[in-house]
Structures are given as C-alpha cells and as structure tokens.
Assembly symmetry: C2
Homo-oligomer: 361 residues x 2
C-alpha cells in the first residue's frame, strides 16, 4: 500500500499506522484502536502487547484521522476580545492549563467586534466538526446563538457573564460596586465619582452597568445619592482612565473619592493626579478593581478577583459539561447548569484615605 513514498530527497519520515501496530501485535486494527484508547472489552494481556508494539513503533493515532472518524475534535476554542489585555490573558492562561492537562487542544480566536463574534458563532466553519466546546470570555452570546451552538453539538460555557442553561463563572459585579461604596463611605466620603465604560459595548456583558448600580446602591444605603455628573467614561484602559479623572477633577464640584471600574483605568487616573500635583489617598481617594500586579506598585486600593482561577474553573465546567452530555442526553434540558460566582475581596492600600483631609485644589 502507501508504503514506499519514493519521491524527493527531503521525503518525510513515514508514520506508523494502526495497521502496522495491528500486524506487529498480531491482532486486528479494531483491537488496536480499542486498546490504545483504553476502552473496555480488551484482554489485559492483549492491551499490553498492543501498547508495547505501539511504543516500539512510535505509534500515535493520527489526530486528523481520529477526529475525522470519531467526529470529536478534542479541542476547545476560547473566544476572547483583546487577547493582550491583562484580564483576558490571565483567563486564557488559566483555561489553557486545565484544557491541556485534560488532553484538549485550545484554539484561541480573538474577536474585535460584535460582527466578528456573530460570524464566529454562526459560521459552521468555526463550530461544527471543528471544536467540542466554546469558552466565551466576556462576550455575550445571544440566546439564539447559544441555541444554535448547542444544536450543533458544541458545548458552551462563559466567563464574565451567564447564558441561560450553560455553565458559567463570574463575579458579583454589583457586590464589587457595593464594596467600593462601603469602603469609601466608611472613610467619610460623600461625594464620589466613578470611572466606567465609555459607552455601551454590545459585545460584552454589562459589567460596567452592574458595577455602576452596585456603587449607586451602596452609596444610597448610606443616604448618599450618586451624582450622575460624576460618572466618566474611561474605556477600560490607561488613557481613558486618565481622561476620565481629568474630567472629574474639572467638575465644578469635584469628588473627594473615585471608584474606577478597573485597575488599569485607575492607573491612568493616578497619572492625571500626579500631573496636577495631587496624590491618591490624600487629595482624592481612589479604588480600582482587579488587583492587577501593578496595583501594589502604586499602592492602589482595589477589589481583588482571581482571574486566572476563573479561567481554570470555567474550563473545568466546560469539560465536565461535555462529559455529561455524551452526545445524546436530551434528558434534562440543560436545566440547572453548574455556574459559579467567584468571590471578590477589598484590598485596602494607600490610595484611599479618610475624607476631610482633602487639600483644596
């Protein structure tokens, strides 16, 4: 058969096939297949012999072939906006470790826009016979899309938000806001500003909205009503944070404390304070979210979340859910999908201080 591939000098070394192993072990290919995959119904001695021959020949099942034949890809794909961001790369790192450990390949695809996302979630190319599961990181999958994905037989779990009937891991974003509010109130602040998203992003879960509400409610619980004029868009990056803080400071009645929805924006805010000769924690209190490594450097008070763990947990949930519905389990209509709400913690550093010591600027 396809034995001597005679051609060019640089000819590729030929792989051992399942047949080679079969004849070497004196069994059929079916048995080899079973033995190699540790399926039942193979005599222990046979299995051993097969495995030995396989190792001897350096045999490994051709992934392309098994995928094709079995219809399973042993691949999960993680869909993520902006791979280079701190949050995302940490989530992906956590997920990758778990998937690799479980013998799954991880494909990563970046989505820059809602249309990218739609394309990916709809095109069969990206789904059918291509991946066994989808890990959606901070991207909202519409119910229709989720249904279509499920119908195509690919599992779905998300981190950062939730899709009805699918596993997810997320944090309580309102709690995040409330934690910030409580802390600031404790320090005596009554006029607090907020740095959030620039505008609604149709692609991701409403994290900004929830954190916003949390802060507002948290303040309200102490009789403080949030002044909408003190909400500035920071685009979740350093520059945006800086601009937002500038806007806040330029307000005729500036806040004495600011809640930044991410540490990165808070860093930008700190730059702006520096620029004006102000100091976080003394002139203006500032609390971020994430507990980014760098927050320690500038001693930023922040609300910690274990991002890499979220990714790892989500990957486990995804893998579990795939194990569950072995392709044919129309029993429970994905009733109560495992879904974890991870904890968050306020970490107090020097960027927040008691109100009243505020310098007049």
């Amino acid at each position: 058969m396809a034995a001597s591939n005679s051609h060019s000098n640089s000819a590729r070394a030929k792989r051992a096939t399942i047949e080679d192993v079969a004849s070497a072990a004196g069994v059929s290919v079916a048995t080899v297949s079973r033995a190699m995959r540790s399926l039942p119904n193979v005599a222990i001695s046979t299995r051993q012999r097969v495995v030995d021959c396989a190792t001897a020949l350096g045999y490994t099942a051709d992934p392309a072939a098994s995928r094709f034949a079995a219809g399973q890809t042993k691949t999960i794909t993680v869909v993520v906006p902006n791979l280079s961001g701190w949050y995302f790369s940490n989530v992906v790192a956590g997920a990758e470790a778990v998937c690799t450990e479980a013998g799954y390949d991880v494909l990563v695809v970046g989505v820059g826009s809602r249309s990218d996302l739609t394309r990916i979630l709809c095109e069969q190319y990206h789904l059918e016979r291509r991946t066994d599961g989808l890990l959606a990181v901070e991207v909202v999958v519409s119910p229709d899309e989720a249904a279509s994905i499920a119908e195509r037989g690919v599992a779905l779990t998300s981190v950062g938000g939730q899709n009805a009937g699918h596993p997810s891991v997320r944090i309580d974003n309102q709690l995040v806001g409330r934690l910030a509010a409580d802390h600031l109130i404790d320090l005596g602040h009554r006029r607090v500003g907020m740095i959030g998203a620039q505008k609604d992003n149709p692609m991701s879960f409403d994290v900004p909205g929830l954190r916003h509400d949390g802060l507002v409610q948290g303040l309200a619980a102490h009789g403080v009503i949030f002044d909408d004029e003190l909400l500035a868009g920071g685009n979740f990056d350093v520059d945006g944070g800086q601009e937002a803080m500038a806007a806040l400071l330029d307000h005729r009645d500036p806040p004495t404390a600011v809640f930044s929805m991410s540490d990165e924006m808070a860093f930008g805010a700190i730059m702006e304070l520096d620029k004006r000769g102000l100091r976080a924690g003394r002139d203006v209190s500032l609390v971020g979210v994430d507990n980014h490594e760098f927050s320690r450097v500038v001693s930023l008070t922040t609300i910690h979340q274990s991002v890499a763990d979220h990714g790892a947990t989500a990957a486990r949930l995804l893998l579990d859910s795939m194990r569950a519905d072995g392709d044919t389990t129309p029993l429970a209509p994905a009733s109560d999908a495992a879904s974890v709400v991870a904890g968050v913690d306020l970490i107090v550093r020097d960027s927040t201080g008691v109100a009243g010591t505020v310098a007049t600027h």
Copy 2:
C-alpha cells in the same frame, strides 16, 4: 438560510455534504471541491453556480475531513511559556491576528518547563498531521529538535531568538544593554547596578546574558567597568525586581543608577525605593526595558520594543515560509531564512536623572 432542520428535538442538524452540493449544482464532487477552494480549471460560470448552491445549502467543507484528506491542518500552534505574562500575551495577540486573518487556526500551548517543551517538540502528537507550523516564543529549540520538526514537515519560526535555517524575529539585546549604558553614562553615572534573571533558564534564549553583556560593554566603552557585585537576580517579575533592588541598595557601595532588564522588575524596584523613602530619578536612576503600558504611570525611563508587532511579523514570516516550501522544495536547504531584527528605542522619562544629585541614604 440553514432553514428547515426538521427532525427530532435534540438531534443534531445534518450538515450538507459536498455531494449534496454536487448534485444540486449538477456537477461532480471534484468540481465542487475545486470551485470552493478557488482552484484553477473551473469555468467561471460553473464556479458561480457551485458557490451559489453551496450558500443555498449552507455548505462549508468539513474541516476535519479536508484536513484528513489533504494532510494540511491550516493550523499553526504557538508555543509559549507563561501565557499570562505581558510580553507573551502581546506576542500571541499579534500573531493570532495575523494567522486568523490568513485563515489559520491558532492553537496555543503553554510550556512551563523545559521538559514540557521537549515533550511537545518530540511527541508526534503535537506535530504531525496536527499543525502546519510552530511559532516558538522565547523558547529555544535545539538544532536536533528543529531538524526533527522540519523533517516532519512542519514549519518553524521563533520570536526572541534564532534557530539556524528558520525565520525569526528578535531584537538586538546587546544593543538594549548598550542603550541603557549610554544613557546612564550621559547622565554622569559611573556606578551602575543591574537587575536581571535569577539564574539561567535552560528553556529560553539568553536574553539576560545578552543584555548584560551589552550593558557591560556600553559602560566599558566609556571607561567604566561593571562591578559584578551589582548584578542582582530579579526573576523577571515585580517581586523579584523589588528584592533585587533591595539587595542593590543594601550593598556597602550602592549604585547610583540601575538597569532593570524588564519594566516589570523595574516596577518592583520602584516599590522598594518608595519603601525606603527614595525616589527613582532623584535618588537612584532606573531604566527598564519594554515600554510596558504602566511605565508611563510611574514615569519610568525604558527601552521600547513593539512586542505585538514582533508576534505579527513572526506569524507572517511563518506563513510565508509555509507557502514557500509547498511540501516539496528540497531546493534551497533553508539557506537564508528571512529573519528580522526589530528596532528598540530609548524613551527617557523621569526615573533617570543626572548623577551627583544623589541623596545620601
């Protein structure tokens, strides 16, 4: 579109196959295959008809099947230590964008240790019939491994270092050291310290060694000899940087300036300075490497490199090299592989200042 999938509740909708399209268009499967892939030798009208039928049926070639049949995976895998690091996630992001754009899937696999790496580069599983190309990010592939990879027909290109005969993108790490030396010398510093790797990492290219040599040579060019006692290991992370700076400051004759081989370590160094009531740029000059987003926040003088671009460029090189040897080009034995040395720039901020104003501490 993919309209009426009649049947059972949970049964997966059946995909249209190439045969469906063939009969719908009244041509053979071969023609459909050719038409769909824009191969030559298909009448323009025929192609159109086929494409129309395909869209009508919502047909897309089953990736698993084509991969199997064609022996090409249309997948590149990027091998990277520590996906969550700033440097790595940026490289991967740059590469991912290019690969996706080119229609390649990107598989990412993290390697935590040299043994992981070896396993991945040797196991056939990870290479043969699994990926068309490997992008090795800051991992050194031994000549033997490179040869074996090539023999298996998978392309290889690396970022951060070079493998003879394979494309690569990297920076001139000695130049980085020299740039730092020149700048510090210009400011009048004669006693400069250095924060580098903790110890030799057998997995990655000798970036620390090259930067070290560059600094030493740069200083020497101005008649300053580097004191080996002023070399501290910082492990390329914030904590390590802090410890290293502490060690340097505790030296009986501390440096007036410090070259940190990465911004992240420099951030740690800044923490240590803060802790001791010292300030970068006034008490001790500090220059980092990377131009990490946050270096602006702490006004760190640094040596910029366009990390995401490196990833993108490397991906292009990889893709090009795959196009070149269409599986049978034993012509040039990979004589002179395209290999780019990206530029770096010194960015002066406030963390460096003229020597002599140094406070006695």
